[in-house]
């Protein structure tokens, strides 16, 4: 019965769509499509334009200021004699803390979550916690560092305080990328190891981690490059703007590249040349970041698709 009804309906053949009208409107619709396409292209090029302007601007500003003396001189209130060796050393010190600390905690957490923790409340609690930490503003980590490391532990505004604060800040990045790396190790590799009577930890240590290492390193480098550029936590834990001696141990006071940029930028109101010094420091910082990211990409490409 149903079928007969539907046939009858169709047989009425009332036309709703007039092909001539469709044809007439089509060129307008296609024109709109084309116009909008270029609008989209224009918007997408905006980012490219901004990046170009930004790079051009800091390069031009740093011309004549960025030279060997600038890299090797110590801080000075005299723009002509000012250099960033202190900040460079400080940043290196900072990375000496952040690198190993985040690597051990980050990989350890990732192995625990991926290989040991049972999928249940505790697992999802830790996982959610890490996701939430990734979204906490860096300045709040600064306050944590100020309260715990600087005051409670009594480290003062030292390298160890700054390094630990920075480590906690980038830890979620390392954990998440290490988790992905471990997860992408195919199961048959683990089976092969278990099949020879290896224990769980032997399997992880000898099979899983070596296979996941390139991806883990990529994530670690990206986390470090985030830490190198972070400024807010350092400001909050009270990294000084004074002329300070070059740090020799992790308990010394220090300054870092982004701090240097910060002070020179806000003080450029007082001394015009400080803006050039800030620009020159930015160029140095961007070059460091560029090199680190290139290394990360090279590692990623070299070890991609091995299974």
């Amino acid at each position: 019965m149903n079928d007969i009804n539907s046939i009858n309906m169709v047989e009425e053949k009332k036309q709703y769509i007039n092909q001539d009208v469709v044809k007439r409107k089509m060129s307008k619709r296609l024109l709109l499509n084309n116009i909008v396409k270029y609008l989209f292209l224009f918007a997408a090029s905006f980012a490219v334009a901004v990046l170009a302007i930004l790079l051009y601007r800091v390069s031009v500003d740093s011309i004549g200021w960025l030279n060997l003396n600038f890299l090797t001189n110590r801080l000075s209130t005299n723009p002509d004699r000012a250099g960033i060796i202190g900040a460079v050393v400080g940043t290196v010190w900072l990375m000496i803390i952040v690198g190993p600390v985040t690597m051990i905690i980050g990989i350890g957490t990732a192995i625990y979550l991926e290989e040991y923790a049972k999928r249940g409340r505790l697992h999802s609690f830790i996982q959610t916690n890490i996701t939430n930490l990734a979204g906490v503003p860096s300045i709040v980590f600064g306050l944590l560092g100020l309260t715990i490391f600087v005051r409670v532990f009594g480290f003062g505004s030292s390298i160890i305080a700054g390094g630990l604060t920075m480590s906690l800040l980038v830890l979620p990045i390392v954990v998440v990328s290490a988790q992905e790396a471990i997860r992408s190790v195919p199961y048959f590799l683990r089976e092969a190891s278990y099949g020879m009577g290896a224990t769980k930890w032997q399997t992880i240590k000898n099979v899983v981690l070596p296979s996941a290492l390139p991806s883990i390193l990529t994530g670690l480098i990206l986390a470090l490059s985030r830490a190198i550029g972070e400024t807010a936590p350092l400001v909050v834990i009270g990294i000084p703007a004074l002329l300070i001696p070059i740090p020799g141990s992790i308990f010394d006071n220090f300054t870092a590249l982004p701090m240097q940029i910060y002070y020179w930028t806000i003080d450029s109101v007082l001394v015009d040349e400080y803006a050039n010094l800030a620009a020159a420091t930015i160029v140095v910082l961007l070059i460091i970041l560029f090199v680190m990211n290139s290394i990360a990409i090279i590692i990623r490409n070299k070890f991609q698709n091995r299974y």
Partner: protein, 311 residues
């Protein structure tokens, strides 16, 4: 000459170490759990610090004063006043400007990349946008202060040398990559079968995009906006450098405004001694900021999960 190696024997010999091995196997998970709990300790640390110091703050300043009055004079020697409203307004206004820049440009960039760009164009454009995402915020702060503000002052009459407009725009630029890449992910996950279905009805690319792809990806797109807002709320260096430290209660974006984050920087890098009300106030402000960003992040996750279409 060569002695035959008996693997079996060797393995048996080694198994004398089995006890040690078993101990290691038991110890390792405990050690790893200890490492994993550091992230939980971090959260506990953040929460307890913020809650405790905020509690001390509200012992000295009333809740009402903090949330309903409009005067903020933390370091005034005569009569310090503590209201978060000027900071809230500053934060919201600058976030608003940022989103007005980031949402349209980020979304159209995502549409272009996902629907229109040829394979080669995308291969060039995507890395550039990723580079933009990797630039430290301090560099954006420098850019806003020494480049964007002077240009805007030529165009916008009455624009102060520190203002909310310039850092807002630059912050928007900073957020474009976030909105663009997350929205593009959402649009990419719309199955091609759906695009084909619309194309087979004679739809143009624009109609496919606006009426099929975007509605299907809308949850992911909105989640990207919310995450963008969260980023803008917590962003510190751009506003610290370029929006000044005026604590006036104003909605005028040509004026100097202070955000919650910039206030925290000002008070910590100033001489507010530990134990003063001004010192505690920064924890109250940070706590508010923490709650705001946490809510935004949770909202983004909720939207992305709740409204994920089942195609």
């Amino acid at each position: 000459m060569s002695k035959t190696v008996n693997v079996k024997e060797l393995i048996q010999k080694k198994d004398k170490l089995a006890k040690v091995k078993a101990k290691i196997e038991k110890f390792i998970p405990l050690f790893l759990f200890a490492l994993a709990s550091i992230s939980i300790l971090t959260t506990v640390g953040i929460l307890s610090t913020l809650v405790y110091e905020t509690y001390l703050f509200f012992n000295e300043v009333s809740f009402m004063q903090f949330f309903t009055t409009t005067e903020l004079r933390p370091l005034s020697p005569v009569e310090p006043k503590f209201s978060i409203l000027p900071l809230l307004v500053g934060t919201i206004m600058i976030t608003l400007v940022a989103m007005l820049v980031a949402v349209p440009i980020g979304l159209t960039t995502a549409i272009f990349l996902s629907e229109y760009a040829s394979h080669n164009t995308r291969k060039i454009l995507k890395p550039i946008i990723e580079v933009l995402a990797g630039i430290p915020t301090i560099v954006y702060g420098f850019f806003a202060f020494t480049f964007v503000t002077p240009i805007l002052r030529e165009v916008v009459p009455g624009l102060q040398s520190t203002n909310a407009l310039s850092p807002g725009i630059v912050m928007g630029i900073m957020i474009i990559p976030l909105v663009a890449s997350l929205s593009e992910d959402a649009m990419n996950s719309v199955p091609n079968a759906m695009r084909e279905g619309a194309m087979a009805l004679g739809a143009t690319k624009l109609e496919v995009t606006l009426r099929v792809v975007i509605p299907a990806a809308i949850s992911g797109i909105i989640a990207s906006f919310v995450l963008g807002i969260s980023r803008a709320l917590g962003e510190t260096m751009i506003v610290t450098i370029a929006s000044g430290s005026s604590k006036n209660f104003t909605f005028d974006i040509t004026q100097s405004m202070q955000t919650m984050t910039a206030y925290i920087v000002e008070v910590t890098s100033g001489d507010a001694a530990s134990g003063t009300t001004a010192y505690y106030s920064l924890y109250a402000v940070a706590f508010t900021l923490f709650i705001f960003t946490l809510l935004m992040n949770m909202l983004a996750r909720y939207i992305a999960r709740r409204y994920r279409e089942a195609y």
